[in-house]
Symmetry: C2
Subunit: 253 residues, 2 copies
DNA sequence: GAGTGGTCTAGACCACCGC
DNA sequence: CGGTGGTCTAGACCACTCT
């Protein structure tokens, strides 16, 4: 008797808040517009600031909002499509692949990288840093690991430093014939240095694209690219210029 | 004078906590082991429970931990590689593509889907639900939108319902010749129904893979697949069986 | 300096699981 | 039922940006 519990599954406040805010964003706000600050918003919805923030966090994760400390919260533009699968059967650095060489150092790679390269822990590896821009904003950073054995003609003498050295490594790489490659995408959180370069806070969600390049029966290079998950949609198709804008958090059909 | 601020950039507590916990996971714990509960852990580290949870949340996002309400926190196994790019030039449903038909209904799709299908809002669309398992665990759910025009021989009469109807739609799809396809990956948060099927809470981070199938100069089908971001690594390469286990949050080199 | 988002606290209660 | 993680509160202070 009595307890006709139609409210048996009360959805969390932050979830409901997110729904309300999503609808407001769709109907009442335009891209770039700044929202009221968190204290005001929380008061307006009658919740604690922490609860409001939980909703904002998810909306930022979904690419709907952009928050910047000291500035405010703004409505984010639709995610940019970033082509990741077009350079099939081409070495990194070939014919302008949207990446910009930044730096290069020869050092022992992390253990996980050494394992993937199937190389000894003592074998020297060139570590090339590159970055990628889109619409004037940095969208990705990359660490490209190239075993010294893959670029035998490159001596320590004739490689100056910094970007020039990075370009030299990439140039040497073109001499090998690429047999195949291998890609994987997973979710990660930004390291401190990547976060700085991507203009985000450490720990921000990122899409990590790991690519292995095979040549001469070996893993000739390994690329670990870190894309901003909030602003990027990685495209793999034959026509990378399309814009779908599918809502990652869509309402029930 | 005095203030020789070598501590000028104090890293947040939760960040430091995460580092400590990561190292502990690497050295002192094995897969499947259960951690102390959050209240004990927080007390042990001398922080508030909310602060500890912030660290745990990131570790779960990175696939290092698995938390389940009412049960506890356990050390997660390495992410499973899930092949996403092998069915090149093949229709969904062809020759066992790891997906299992669940359901099918004929309804008006969300606006964003209708736009991607370049179909009128009034044109009927078959919506096939499928799910994907790996290692006995559900890893993905999919909504496959097939405009009625793509499967003209399928009448409402001879399609029973549920999984059988889903299979019928997939079977009819094979009659078209697939011209090309298009893929995109982005971060999203799980809808309530997807979350339930993936054994996660609503809002959990997911990788949304949107695939468009082209035939006869049209978009003949649209697939929106939702993968658990904490447990999955999407693989696109020619050899999907490899295991890299690259640490998404790796320490400085 | 004023205003923003980011971090942190010490509590409370709830929803869920397994015994 | 007891124990777990999930939600929520009402504060406080900090780091940052802009003016």
């Amino acid at each position: 008797m009595g307890t006709t519990q139609l409210e048996s599954v009360p959805e969390p406040k932050y979830w409901h808040l997110k729904t309300v805010l999503t609808e407001a964003l769709d109907s009442e706000f335009s891209v770039g517009e700044i929202l009221p600050n968190e204290r005001d918003l929380a008061a307006r919805f009658g919740v604690a600031r922490a609860t409001l923030r939980q909703a904002l966090e998810q909306l930022e994760l979904e690419g709907r909002l952009q928050r910047r400390r000291g500035v405010g919260t703004t409505v984010a533009p639709p995610r940019v499509g970033v082509a990741v699968g077009t350079e099939q059967h081409a070495w990194p650095g070939a014919a302008s692949d949207a990446w910009q060489p930044v730096d290069c150092e020869q050092a022992a790679p992390p253990a996980s990288v050494a394992a993937a390269l199937e190389t000894g822990a003592d074998e020297p590896v060139h570590t090339v840093r590159r970055s990628r821009m889109s619409h004037g904003q940095p969208v990705a950073t990359e660490l490209l690991y190239v075993p010294a054995a893959s670029v035998p003609d490159l001596t320590a003498i004739d490689t100056p430093s910094g970007a020039a050295r990075a370009r030299a490594v990439l140039r040497e790489l073109q001499h090998l014939s690429l047999e195949s490659q291998d890609r994987a995408v997973e979710l990660g959180s930004a390291r401190a240095d990547d976060a700085k370069e991507l203009d985000r806070l450490p720990g921000s969600p990122v899409l990590v694209v790991t690519t292995r390049f095979f040549a001469a029966g070996r893993t000739a290079a390994l690329s670990v690219a870190t894309y901003r998950a909030d602003t990027c949609r990685l495209t793999f198709g034959d026509s990378p210029d399309v814009e779908i804008h599918h809502d990652p958090e869509r309402r029930a059909s």
